[in-house]
Amino acid sequence: MGFLLGKPSTVSGTRRVPASLVGLAGLFLIWEVASQTGLVPELYLRPPSEVLPAMVGLLGDEKFLRALLATVLATVIALLIAILIAVPGGLVLGSIPLVRRACMTVVEFLRPIPSVALIPLALLITGTGPDTKIALAVYGALWPILFNTMYALDELDPLHVETARAFGTGRVAVLTRIALPSAAPFVLTGVRLSFTIALAVVVSTELFAGGTKGLGQFIMEANSGGAHMDQVLAGTVIAGLVGYAANAGLERLNAKLFAWNAPRGEAS
C-alpha cells in the first residue's frame, strides 16, 4: 500500500524551460497548420494567429480580468480549505490504524464520485453562488492531498520516530515534529495535483451555472452563437496557462523547500 500519487519532483524547473517552450511552439504550429489548411473546422477552431491576439486583448479587458480573478480566487480558496481538511485527516488516518480501518470504506466509496457529477445536485441545494463551486472543488481536491499525506505516513522511518520518542517526544509532538515534516514533500505533490483538479471543477461549475461569475461563464457566453470563437479559445488557453503556472510554481516551491528530500529520493 506504499504507492504515492506522483513523485515529489526534485528536478528544478530552470533546465526544462527551453524544451517545454519548444514543445509548446510545436503545438501552436500544428494547431495553426491544421486550422489554416481546413483539417479541422476553421470556423470553430480558430488558428493561433487569431487566438493569440485575442488573448492579449482579453488581458486588457476588465470584464474578463474580473472573471479570471473570480475563478482563480475560488480555486485558491477551495485548495486552502482542502488542505485544512485533508492534511490533518491524512495524519489521523495514517497514524491511527483503527480510525483508518473504520474510515477507509467510506473514503473508497466517496473518492471515485467525480465532483463534476455532483454539479447539478449541488446547484439545486446551494444555488449558483461561489460557495457551490468552492464546495465542489474542495471535494475534488481533497483526495490527492488526503491520500498522499496518509501514504507518506506509511513510509515514515520508524527510526525517526524512535529517536524522537527516546528524547521524550510525546505522541502528538511526534506527529507534528516528525510525521508532518517528513510527509511534507508528498503533501505538496498532492497539493499540486489538487490545484489542477480544483481549477477544472471551478471552471466546469461556471460553465454549468450561468449565474456564477468566472472564466467558465465568460467562455460559455462567448461561445453562445459561435460568434466569438477566438475569445472562447483564448479564454481556454488562459485557463490552461493558469494551471500550468500554478503547477510550475508549486514544483519550484518543492525544489526550494524540500532540497533535503532530493538525496533521499535518489537513494531509493
Partner: protein
C-alpha cells in the same frame, strides 16, 4: 548522590510474532555505576538492541525491572539519550545540523538551545557545520552530529547501540577516541552495546559478555586499562590482548539457547 545509575534486574523480553513467541533476552541482571562506561558485547541477533530499547522505554519488557538512578523506568525516562547505529536514519534530514542537535532541547529558551547545541557541536569538532544538512556530511560526521545531539541533552545515561558499526575503520578509531574524551570531559555515564570484541575492551571500564539469544550475562569483566587509552599502544598491550582473548573465549563457549533450556 546515587552511585548506581542503572539497575537492570531479571530483565526479559519476548516478542509476540505471528509465527509464535520469540525470547530475545532473558534473566538479564547488571548495574551501571554513575560515571562508568560499560560495554555490552554479544553476537548479532542476541538481543542487544532489545536490551537498549527496554532500558530506554521504547518497548515495555515482558519481565523484570529497570531502574534509572533509583526510579523504576515506566515509559521513556526524561534524562536519557540514545545514539543509534544508523545515523543516516536517526538524524532528521529536513533539519539543519544545528536544528537536529537542538531537537531534544525544546523546553529551553531559544538562546539556551543555541548555546547548548553550539557547545555540543564544538565538543565533537563540528563547530562550523551547524548550517549544513546531515546529507551534506560524511557518515562519520553524521554520527558525530548524533553524538552531539545526545550530549546537548545532558543525559544522566547515554545509551549507544553499535554506534560505530557503520563507519570505516579509520573513522571508527577517531570516534572511539572522541567518545572517550567527551565522557571524560563531561563525566557522562555510558552503556554501549557492540558486537566488536576489540571495541568493547578498548572503550569499556567494564565489559558485560552476553550469550546467544536469548541473551543472558555470562560474565562481567573489569577492564584495567586506565583512563588514557591509545589506539596503537593500548591495543597492543598485554592486558588488552589478554582481555580480548578472554572475551572471545567467553563468547565462543557461551551456552546457546538450546543448552540453557
Amino acid at each position: 548522590m546515587v552511585r548506581t545509575m542503572l539497575d537492570v534486574a531479571d530483565l526479559g523480553h519476548t516478542y509476540q510474532a505471528k509465527d509464535g513467541a520469540h525470547d530475545a533476552i532473558d534473566g538479564l541482571t547488571f548495574t551501571v555505576e554513575a560515571g562508568e562506561l560499560v560495554c555490552v558485547v554479544g553476537p548479532s541477533g542476541c538481543g542487544k538492541s532489545t536490551l537498549l530499547r527496554s532500558i530506554s522505554g521504547l518497548i515495555r519488557p515482558t519481565r523484570g525491572t529497570v531502574s534509572l538512578h533509583g526510579t523504576p523506568v515506566d515509559g521513556v525516562p526524561a534524562d536519557l539519550a540514545v545514539v543509534f547505529q544508523d545515523y543516516s536514519r536517526s538524524l532528521f534530514p529536513w533539519l539543519t545540523v544545528q536544528r537536529n542537535v537542538e531537537f531534544p532541547l525544546r523546553e529551553l529558551s531559544k538562546a539556551e538551545r543555541t548555546a547548548r547545541a553550539g557547545e555540543a557541536l564544538a565538543a565533537v569538532g563540528l563547530e562550523n557545520a551547524g548550517r549544513k544538512y546531515p546529507w551534506q556530511l560524511s557518515g562519520g560526521m553524521q554520527q558525530r552530529v548524533a553524538i552531539a545531539r545526545a550530549l546537548a541533552y545532558r543525559p544522566a545515561l547515554l545509551l549507544m547501540d553499535e554506534p560505530f558499526a557503520s563507519v570505516d575503520a579509520q573513522t571508527r578509531f577517531e570516534l572511539e577516541d572522541l567518545l572517550l574524551r567527551v565522557r571524560r570531559e563531561q563525566d557522562t555515564t555510558v552503556l554501549l552495546v557492540t558486537h566488536d570484541i576489540d571495541e568493547s575492551v578498548y572503550l569499556g571500564d567494564r565489559v558485560l559478555v552476553l550469550s546467544k539469544s536469548p541473551a543472558r550475562v555470562v560474565a562481567a569483566l573489569d577492564v584495567g586499562l586506565g583512563e588514557k587509552r591509545d589506539q596503537i599502544t593500548t591495543r597492543s598491550s598485554d592486558e588488552f590482548v589478554e582481555l580480548r582473548a578472554k572475551v572471545a573465549g567467553l563468547l565462543q563457549s557461551a551456552p546457546t539457547a538450546e543448552t540453557v533450556h
